[in-house]
Symmetry: D2
Subunit: 244 residues, 4 copies
């Protein structure tokens, strides 16, 4: 039997500690809801890790056994230790998949991988978002139709200050008239990165079946394969002609 | 004094012949309005050409003296002779800029340069479009703020079946909740191509100051420079080592 | 059991009819050698089709049951009927994978999908090529090391007049000092396209184990998946707000 | 009269202090040679800054009056203060052009903008490099023919661990059979970045007329224009509908 994809679902998990409205929507935390969505699949095994655990739950042992890491943060980006970010960064470059969710656009790890400010416009209003599929053949949208409709969410608007993505998979329209590139892929080193916008803490976004399907698809897409070994020797190379 | 950029504004000009509503908005035709916008600039000299002229107004002489060609068509794409499309195609590959407007997405020349169906969704409803700038440093949006608002227009929606663009400069939001990549650049051979969505015939889109500014910027961007010579010899090459 | 990937290996097969040197290297034709490489895999079923068969062997029945088409042509690009090119083009846009080999860069189908001249420099000299991997995590290079060395081949050199590829997987160095982008991917409509340079008829390129491995990998990569359905309705869309 | 483009030519300038061979080639330092090349042009005004000056010569005053910064470093990347890198990074995102030269691929500022390891293969052998033009219409290669030949240089080879570039302008071939993407553009925030490989300290690369022409072209290309204002407000946005 093929081995399962090992996922670590990381969450800052601070809203859950102080806002009962969030706890009501996510009794097991946002991380718990995401892990449940992933663990419903036979080929995925998901565990969780949170900011307030030692080393934020991302020990060497956890990272070295993680195929895909998902990241949710909002209030406490600065509380993430640089040493942990260093380790996650190295691991992504060596092939670990990374799925950055919603307000994770300002997480240290995402900004480090992008090299830009990753800023955007926003408005917390609870109005409607439509995520339109702009790359219908991509495995991340398998089983998704023309669009995903989320009745209530926070608005994110352009300009989103990121490098040109490798692929633009979703573009969102908001009730207020704004647009946002809301599903984007990037390759960095041997690692595949997917940024996925949905996920505000005060709306039940991660209970939405289509959002859960995208998360499952994205984990399968981002998982390293046997071929995903990369060597960056940075050492003198022998004279090529003499070695072949 | 630097020479002016020579522009040929091409228009199918069939709506203007049968729909008084269009003639009322564009007494000189859509081509006349676009040419006026361009000729208001000291560095641009624009003339027009239309479908019903001999060779559609695109003789060898006209094409060889055109730096940038703008293209508007809708009802009569099939009436454009393949021989003319062949000539325009070759001229673009050799460096002539091409600006394809609105329903020109289905023009033979655009589909030939893209290699895809260039289909999209649409609805003719006269509602609002907002074109958001997603590449704020691009010369095509010089002088444009965060967005352009058009109070009444036709809707175009994704999926737009085109190759991945080199740059995505505008993304539109429509009153109906749809999105569309509405300002896109492509390089083909030595030619620069800009697709720009606005322009339905029954709304005064080409009288809008921001739309006119984009057209002017796009002409300057698409114009070939002294460096834009390309040679595709497709002939046997001497043994390189012996020639240097 | 999963169904096999259905491949049609197309070959112009004209060199084989008049040049004994080619027949000696490829007793079953270039198409035969490629089909054998593919049929050695348990998950691939490859058949062949050639120019001189009725409809060039690419009947509606053949095309509609083909997941991936490979294309080799050189002497007789113009002999390929436009009606067949039309059908292959439509089928690629609907999701059939296409692998274009070597001198197929000037095939009608490739130029139509690219929209450019697809010209390049060349020299038929039988010297060495090294194909360096420039995207080491790509499934097409699974099992390939840092490079592939072909002791004797024809030279292709830049500038290669194509649109910017989605991914650049191989870049070649030639004994004469030239370079060439020799492994490239493009997405057009729902179809995945891979251009792969190796393959001159007078050298046993398709017997090389690394080249054969790339062909197998490319077939697996280009095969449409269940998610690869695309709809380009090009019809009026209902007012979105009223339908959700 | 139009204002000149203000360039700051930064150099680590450590080789020059300890290796007489380098001083012999570059009596005024590598920075002096580059500044001379740029100052030969009527539209460019170049000054220099080096590692061992206070704040590495990159004070707030210098940075705020710099349109384009060129960067050469090799031995002492780690000696560049993080606070200076922070300031340069912010300035690039706000629109300052950046030209990273040769071994600057491992400079803190380049790795931070890329988000990857930026490692590569190399061999210090003094053999021949040919830089082939792969984007002949780009302003950076204005006046350059098909290629630039450097008789003696250090080798850099793929895999170069960088994000996919926006444009690939040069690809190099080396006498040892290797290839390298040696002229690359990236946009980050409002800033344009050009990586240009040539420049080893023990060969007179920056005296080569074609290399100097590329440097001049690149400065003109990377200079911010009037349109290059970017705002990343990251603040709540008013309800869009109510403001238009």
């Amino acid at each position: 039997m093929a081995e399962k994809i090992q996922v670590t679902v990381w969450n800052e998990a601070r809203h859950e500690k102080k806002n009962p409205a969030v706890t009501k929507i996510y009794p097991k935390g946002i991380h718990g809801a995401i892990a449940d969505a992933l663990n419903s699949q036979p080929d995925i095994s998901a565990r969780t890790a949170t900011l307030d655990e030692p080393e934020h739950g991302l020990t060497d042992e956890v990272l070295s056994s993680t195929d895909v890491l998902t990241w949710w943060g909002h209030l406490a980006h600065d509380a993430v230790a640089d040493a942990v970010v260093d380790k996650v960064h190295r691991r992504v470059l060596k092939g670990m998949g990374l799925i950055v969710l919603h307000s994770g656009h300002l997480a240290k790890i995402f900004r480090r991988l992008m090299g830009t400010s990753c800023t955007l416009r926003w408005r917390e209003d609870g109005a409607r978002e439509v995520l339109w599929v702009t790359c219908p053949v991509h495995p991340i949208v398998a089983g998704i139709g023309d669009c995903i409709v989320l009745p209530q969410t926070e608005m994110y608007g352009e300009f989103f200050d990121i490098p040109q993505p490798d692929e633009t998979i979703f573009i969102s329209s908001f009730a207020g008239g704004e647009v946002f590139r809301s599903g984007l892929t990037f390759r960095r080193g041997a690692g595949k990165i997917f940024y996925f916008r949905p996920g505000h803490e005060t709306f039940p976004i991660y209970h939405d079946p289509a959002v859960r399907k995208v998360l499952v698809n994205a984990v399968r897409w981002a998982a390293p394969t046997g071929s995903m070994k990369i060597e960056c020797p940075h050492k003198p190379l022998g004279w090529f002609e003499k070695t072949v």
